[in-house]
Symmetry: C2
């Protein structure tokens, strides 16, 4: 497509690099910004620049935070004996939203994926091993809360092999039919796992 | 939703102000930017800042451009006797893509819409009247290429009333069944107009 202005072309190309945004959507966003007030654009670019310049990662659990240590790791009310291993900050937010977990986290920053060139060394696994070795007396359980995909399972398998000797107890989040889902529409693998992983009715 | 960082919250809020982007998508984009290289974010914000600071509008047709006058208005190869009236820069780009029009444009910057508080004074209609009055000898035809919506029709009606005395000829783009569309699925109004507006088979 030909653009009436080099400035628009450059802005469209930059926005279209974001995931899930094509050139048509990018053009719509650019034209929206041009129509809107100046301040809107500057507030947006300012927020992104500040984000990029000042964002920090918690030195204990590697989640995104504003300080040296995140609010969860530095809280007195969290149970430090349970460490939940997740792929991403999004997973921390999702688990926090459930209000069912009071332990601490360890964010890997991805999962092992040979297709995408991500190996164990690219993740915070060594840091997890150190954390468990040093805090052996305190940490009683490690929960593997990774996505139930091929990559997630591979990563869980690898981590379990690495930490089995150190950690007291390694658990994995339950797999089964989702709440509110119809049995009829559950795939065979999920349904099969929900049967083999059945629990006592209480 | 609670964010682990104020910086993320601010960035998400700013991105979610863009049309068609909700908080979940905004968070995904922000986490993508954090994961990607620093330069990506700075290239994006730089392009947007430059766009906002340097974007100009053509003094003749009010389309977006980099100079005082756009490439179409300043071209020697364009036919200045036909002026095509459109709502937006997007429409100029769409018509240019067809390669069926060799005249010049006049961008209104919107359509009359009482619901959104847009009146004739908010559009470049006065500028169009001046352009036609001053260039009366040169301009032979005005094409109304507005969207076939209630607002577009209202705007076309208003403009026609204003320029009927000045312009030699006022025409409107054809309405009918879209090429490649199935007659069966065309709505009655479109199909009705395609019959009343039929042309000789050649």
């Amino acid at each position: 497509m030909e653009y009436p202005s080099k400035l628009i072309e450059e802005a469209v190309n930059q926005i279209a690099k974001l995931p899930g945004i094509g050139k048509k959507t990018a053009l719509r966003l650019v034209l929206h910004l041009i129509k809107a007030k100046d301040e809107n654009t500057y507030a947006l670019t300012d927020a992104l620049n500040k984000l990029r310049a000042n964002i920090k990662f918690c030195k204990v659990c590697h989640t995104i935070c504003d300080a040296e240590m995140c609010s969860i790791c530095s809280s007195h009310r969290r149970d430090r004996s349970i460490v939940c291993i997740v792929e991403d900050v999004k997973d921390v937010m999702a688990i926090e939203n459930t209000a069912q977990f009071n332990g601490v986290y360890h964010v890997l920053g991805g999962v092992i994926s040979p297709v995408n060139g991500v190996g164990p060394a690219d993740l915070k696994i060594e840091s997890l091993v150190n954390r468990l070795t040093n805090g052996q007396a305190e940490i009683k359980e490690v929960i593997l809360a990774l996505s139930p995909t091929m990559e997630g399972d591979t990563t869980a398998f690898y981590i379990n092999k690495r930490i089995r000797e150190i950690a007291v107890k390694v658990s994995v989040i339950a797999r089964g039919v989702p709440v509110g889902g119809d049995l009829e529409y559950a795939d065979e693998i999920t349904l099969g796992r929900s049967i083999t992983g059945r629990t006592l009715f209480n």
